[in-house]
């Protein structure tokens, strides 16, 4: 059966006189920016290796890359959903701070983990729901609606506490301190949670109707509606997912730093957006991959690591990420312009 399908596909390809390469491009043209991100990641690794004379690509460094960027990875996954619909979520940084400090406070007050963790996840999702409803039913621009969410989250964080709250709960600290080792490689539960989030998101986006609806909305919302897709529901769900991921990131950050702090994550939403865009997701929506966002996060993290190793000013980080972002947006524009020209 499969062989027959293959054979048929092959004759079709022949009929159209296209090479397998062309077939690949016509099927997966949208992946090109994500491939470019992979290429950049490889170049960064090679560059780091050369610069540090073979002391960069080590199991320790690569394991640390996941550990240090688990929080950003989870945020980027949620952000990918929203950006795929053509929206934006500026609230995630402060929602993460809010849920993080809320969790620390609850645990400090003796609330059991089994209640505190669901509470912070739902807290994040609730703010996402609010933004989603504003966007969908009140026609508020995603930028503005999520900006309101940003201020709300930050304000709530300050209401919970003005200063840092240390976490002494074993279960939460376990998430960070446990090292599951394989030789020199290791992974923490936080890393496992982040990778699981990526896997679940990839599955949902590619193999469920809800996921395809997200892509359809980004392609053309009006068309998606006329095709009978449940646009409103899916759009709100994208913001809820982003809020939920921000809540989860709050938990991971609290575990990572061993404390909740209301000033955490100022500007982190922009890092997440940068990672998603570098990973090949179009800001206009409809094209992109959550795996690409993961690559984007690693590109981001690797640049940071290299700069740390070089002992250079952290300001270079901003400049390099800024330049990369610019480069990627130009590349994306070129790709979009080209695919429109082909029609």
């Amino acid at each position: 059966m499969a062989a027959m399908t293959m054979a048929r596909a092959e004759t079709r390809t022949k009929e159209r006189g296209e090479s397998p390469v062309q077939t690949f491009i016509s099927r997966h043209g949208g992946m090109m920016p994500s491939f470019a991100a992979v290429l950049i990641l490889i170049l960064l690794f090679i560059g780091g290796e050369i610069f540090l004379r073979g002391d960069f690509i080590t199991p320790r460094n690569i394991s640390a890359l996941l550990l240090d960027n688990a929080v950003l990875l989870v945020l980027a996954v949620g952000m990918t959903f929203v950006i795929l619909t053509g929206g934006i979520d500026l609230s995630v940084g402060s929602v993460m701070a809010f849920t993080g400090i809320l969790g620390a406070k609850m645990l400090g007050d003796g609330v059991p983990v089994g209640i505190a963790i669901p509470a912070i996840l739902l807290g994040g999702a609730a703010i996402g729901l609010l933004i989603g409803i504003l966007v969908q039913y009140f026609g508020v621009q995603p930028f503005i609606a999520s900006l309101a969410g940003l201020f709300l989250g930050r304000g709530l964080a300050y209401i919970v506490s003005l200063s840092s709250i240390k976490v002494e709960n074993d279960a939460v600290l376990w998430l960070q301190s446990t090292r599951i080792r394989l030789g020199d490689w290791y992974i923490t539960p936080t890393g496992i949670i982040a990778l699981t989030t990526v896997a679940v998101a990839a599955f949902v986006l590619h193999l469920t109707r809800f996921g395809r609806t997200i892509y359809a909305i980004g392609g053309n919302e009006q068309s998606a509606r006329l095709m009978g897709l449940k646009v409103g529901r899916a759009k709100i769900a994208a913001y809820v997912i982003s809020g939920f991921c921000a809540g989860l990131a709050g938990l991971l950050l609290t575990a990572y730093s061993g404390a909740g702090y209301p000033r955490n994550g100022i500007g982190t939403e922009l890092d997440a957006i940068a990672a998603v865009v570098i990973g090949g997701t179009l800001l206009t929506g409809g094209r992109g991959y959550v795996l690409g966002s993961m690559v984007g996060v690693f590109v981001y993290g690797t640049i940071k690591t290299i700069i740390n190793f070089m002992g250079a000013e952290q300001s270079w980080m901003q400049i390099i990420v800024g330049s990369l972002l610019l480069l990627f947006i130009v590349v994306q524009r070129a790709i979009v312009a080209r695919s429109e020209g082909r029609r």
Partner: protein, 509 residues
């Protein structure tokens, strides 16, 4: 015939946008196994009727019955579930997804809740084969031509259990072979008992395919006819309608001495614009009104665009006072004194939120540039003089233009263009959607302008109006100017015959 119950029946359908009725108590029915064509000019209410059937638009009045049962669709999704599939005029698919996904989106084949891409591709391949389309179902839709995308839209529509298929101008982007393939498919669906609503502005296609025709005009129902009993010329007449207004006869004094006295102000040769017009010649003398008559889709608007720098010319030369010019943009055209008024007054014309003064002085200020601002007092004076000259009512300079009636909006638009002191005025359906009194005023105004030496191209769907206003009439069909005749030599009937159909085909029916 009538013992067969209609599958879909719409009665008293009324849709209002603000004060205007886009659809006014229209009845419409579709029988199983029949192709029913909906005919009418721009703004007749075809699209509104379709949207009312497919749940994309809520009706203000009227009821819809499907197989005898009263239904009300809140969304296209509900209509689809009830078996009503639609292919819209503008391709409503998603270029960022694969062909197979575009066909099955919303009803993807699933295995235990998970979309099966393989199954989806196989089924899509089968459907595409049925349509005679050999493309890779896994390829991104955006990589294909518009025609292929259109066929994919149709594949989507028939992939569901379809009882009613609505095709809104499905052929406008297809070539002849593709149209033939589509028609074969439509006939097959018809034989299966599907009720088909087919909208096309190509009369040939309608006569080839349709069993029944319903004609709409200005949102109202003209009638329902069996195709075999409706002559082509009668159909066109019903679509265009006839309106008798008391119009001052156009003084044709200038006509006699046209040849010697006035050289051609504008002379265009071999104009071609994309799919719109091919090889069109236009001559326009000083003080002359050239009427342009043609059906929707005949290229009348493309001609206007080609003459005024709105559309890019693929071929052809335009000479203004025997100097060859290239009109790359409307701005450029304005600098040569050629101005254009769009058929879509609301979208491309007035700025509804701005006041009468602002609207009138908009183009003039823009031509002068930001650094030579017209002083406010001068602007008001200027606007007031136009409001007075064109009798714009109410004569309130500060009123937002959106609150004026259609006829007065059109006058504001004219005032804006006239403020530029143009030599050539190209008016695309300036009287569409405005009441009879205002129509007459606009027509008279055009005549007056011409008497004062302005050259006007006057495009209208109403033949009598073209005859009344024009000194000569250019007849357009299928993107070509087939003939240019002096208005005095034409009657409404002879013009109708020219617009409706080429002579050689007249015996066919």
């Amino acid at each position: 015939m009538d013992e067969v119950r209609p599958l879909l029946e719409l009665t008293g359908a009324t849709v209002r946008f603000g004060a205007d009725a886009a659809l006014d108590h229209v009845d419409f029915r579709l029988f199983p196994g029949e192709v029913h064509s909906l005919m009418g000019e721009n703004g007749a209410g075809k699209s509104t009727l379709i949207k009312a059937i497919t749940g994309a638009l809520a009706m203000d009045e009227g009821e819809l019955r499907l197989a005898g049962e009263r239904v009300a669709f809140a969304s296209p999704h509900e209509a689809q579930r009830a078996g009503i599939s639609t292919v819209y005029q503008e391709i409503e698919l998603l270029p960022n997804l694969s062909v197979a996904e575009n066909i099955f989106l919303g009803r993807e084949p699933r295995r235990s809740g998970v979309i099966s891409r393989q199954l989806m591709r196989e089924r899509a391949a089968g459907l595409l084969q049925e349509l005679g389309l050999s493309i890779d179902p896994g390829s991104l839709l955006g990589t294909h031509s518009v025609a292929v995308q259109q066929l994919v839209a149709i594949a989507r529509a028939i992939s569901a259990d379809v009882r009613v298929l609505v095709l809104d101008e499905p052929t406008s982007s297809l070539d002849l072979d593709e149209v033939a393939e589509l028609f074969r498919l439509i006939r097959e669906l018809k034989a299966r008992g599907v009720a088909i609503l087919f909208v096309s502005h190509f009369l040939d296609q309608v006569y080839e395919l349709a069993d029944r025709i319903t004609v709409l005009r200005d949102g109202a129902m003209v009638g329902e006819y069996l195709t075999g009993e409706l002559l082509r010329i009668d159909l066109v007449q019903k679509m265009l309608g006839r309106e008798i207004g008391e119009v001052r006869a156009r003084g044709r004094a200038s006509e006699d001495d046209a040849d010697e006295a006035s050289a051609a102000v504008l002379r265009a040769r071999g104009l071609s614009v994309g799919q719109g017009i091919a090889d069109a010649d236009v001559d326009l003398a000083e003080g002359e009104v050239l009427g342009v008559a043609g059906l929707l889709g005949s290229g009348r608007t493309s001609l206007a665009h080609g003459l005024t720098g709105v559309a890019h010319l693929e071929a052809g030369v335009i000479r203004i006072e025997s100097e060859a010019v290239r009109l790359d943009s409307p701005r450029h055209a304005i600098s040569f004194g050629v101005v254009y008024s769009s058929e879509n007054r609301r979208r491309d014309g007035i700025v509804a939120e701005l006041s009468v003064v602002d609207n009138i002085t908009l183009a003039l200020q823009s031509e002068r540039g930001v650094f030579r601002r017209i002083p406010p007092a001068r602007r008001r004076e200027l606007a007031a003089s136009w409001v007075d000259a064109l009798d714009i009512r109410p004569p309130d300079l500060d009123r937002p233009v959106g609150t004026l009636s259609g006829g007065n909006q059109q006058k504001v638009l004219l005032a804006r263009l006239l403020a530029l002191s143009p030599r050539v005025l190209v008016l695309d359906e300036p009287t569409r959607g405005i009441d009879v009194g205002a129509k007459v005023e606009i027509q008279n105004l055009v005549a007056e302008l011409a008497d004062n030496g302005m050259s006007v191209v006057f495009i209208s769907a109403e033949l009598e109006e073209v005859l009344r206003v024009g000194d000569r009439v250019a007849v357009m069909r299928d993107g070509r100017i087939v003939e240019t005749v002096a208005a005095a030599d034409l009657t409404a009937d002879s013009l109708l015959a020219l617009v409706a159909q080429p002579d050689e085909d007249e015996g066919e029916d």
